[in-house]
Symmetry: C2
Subunit: 230 residues, 2 copies
């Protein structure tokens, strides 16, 4: 299932960067298989609990498997969404520079998902912690892609529609990385029997809460995007 | 936990519609409690499996509880994100008409989440199926809000930044409804011991896959948004 989801991400990336409809189609089609695998894994895991009544590490493994299959299924969904957005973008011209940023995000995310899968296979909680910490690199990159895309849209109204779809593609990738960190949490829990979710560092600044009041209907703010730290 | 998440959604909605920073703050703050509740529920559910080794309906209930708590936690996250986006929008002028569409979405979503919570309490698989089917109303509304926001952004570049954030808010709401349908699936599984996920009707047309090839660098397409059915 992990391998299939990795391939889905790769197909989504190729679809986006080379405007390749076939890759998009494959990425979308693969999702049904990923979904079926998740439900099969879930059914088997529940059977294991019902028939063998595992405890301690064994039970933790089964619970971790349930969680991991769920996270992988979500990553597959996000990849599928990117494939579908290629269709929505259609023949529109897209901002090339921002695509570069998305390509870098994509590389990072594939590495994160790969490490997550490795950490499951090798029960490696150190690898899990490391990838968990690296999530802020993805968040920073997402923030910069987000800003670039907004600038592109402001510069050229023809970029608004493809730009909004690309913002969603970037956000989907950022979410994939979040799910990879959730897998890391599941692996950590499986190996250590403890949770790992106290205050993961976040660097997605696109939704930073500012202390400015929101004035609906007031004078327009300058169009430049400038999130404020509070 | 369900009641808390309902309150989070309501606070997020008030925050967005009345530009109320206090509501946004409360919505964000509540999320930590929701997260803690989820991990407590999860720990207790795992303990129940380990100590009492439930089977049949009892096991299904525990597994459903694990799933439902996970879905509620995700809904809480999405509400928190809306609260945070209010900060990113800051003092910007926002398109009033699209806010109306978002308000309608919000009402629908609150109803969906409420029905999902009721279906858990009353083990009502019919209510679960009904809300599961109603998800396409949310998707249709999201599609129309999405189009309205794109039009607003094309009409006035000052709307681009708040518009993109509002598109995300709308998408977050659409996702909340998806999680409510996941709760419906968990309830159905708990009551019936069968799954309910064969081909749920979808009406989110913003990512419809079109048969048009994507031409990066080609002539700009007309700025109007026109998703094509394939």
């Amino acid at each position: 299932m992990g391998g299939l989801v990795e391939r889905q991400i790769a197909e989504a990336a190729t679809a986006l960067h080379n405007a390749n409809k076939d890759c998009a189609g494959r990425c979308i089609d693969m999702d049904a298989l990923v979904d079926t695998m998740q439900s099969t894994i879930e059914r088997k895991a529940i059977n294991v609990i019902a028939c063998y009544q595992p405890v301690a590490l064994d039970l933790r493994e089964v619970i971790a498997v349930l969680r991991i299959a769920n996270e992988l299924e979500r990553i597959g969904d996000l990849a599928k969404n990117i494939g579908k957005r290629l269709g929505a973008i259609g023949r529109m011209r897209v901002p090339r520079q921002s695509l570069g940023g998305i390509r870098s995000m994509n590389k990072l995310i594939l590495a994160q998902v790969r490490d997550a899968l490795d950490s499951i296979a090798s029960r490696d909680d150190t690898k899990a912690v490391n990838l968990w910490l690296r999530d802020q690199d993805v968040d920073s990159l997402y923030t910069s892609v987000f800003r670039e895309l907004l600038t592109d849209m402001m510069r050229d109204p023809a970029m608004i529609t493809p730009g909004v779809h690309l913002v969603f593609c970037a956000k989907n990738m950022e979410r994939m990385a979040d799910h990879a960190t959730n897998i890391a949490e599941a692996v950590y829990y499986m190996v250590r029997g403890e949770t790992l979710w106290q205050g993961r560092p976040k660097a997605d600044e696109t939704t930073i809460f500012s202390s400015k009041p929101l004035d609906i209907g007031a004078e327009p703010a300058p169009p430049e995007y400038d999130p404020e730290l509070d």
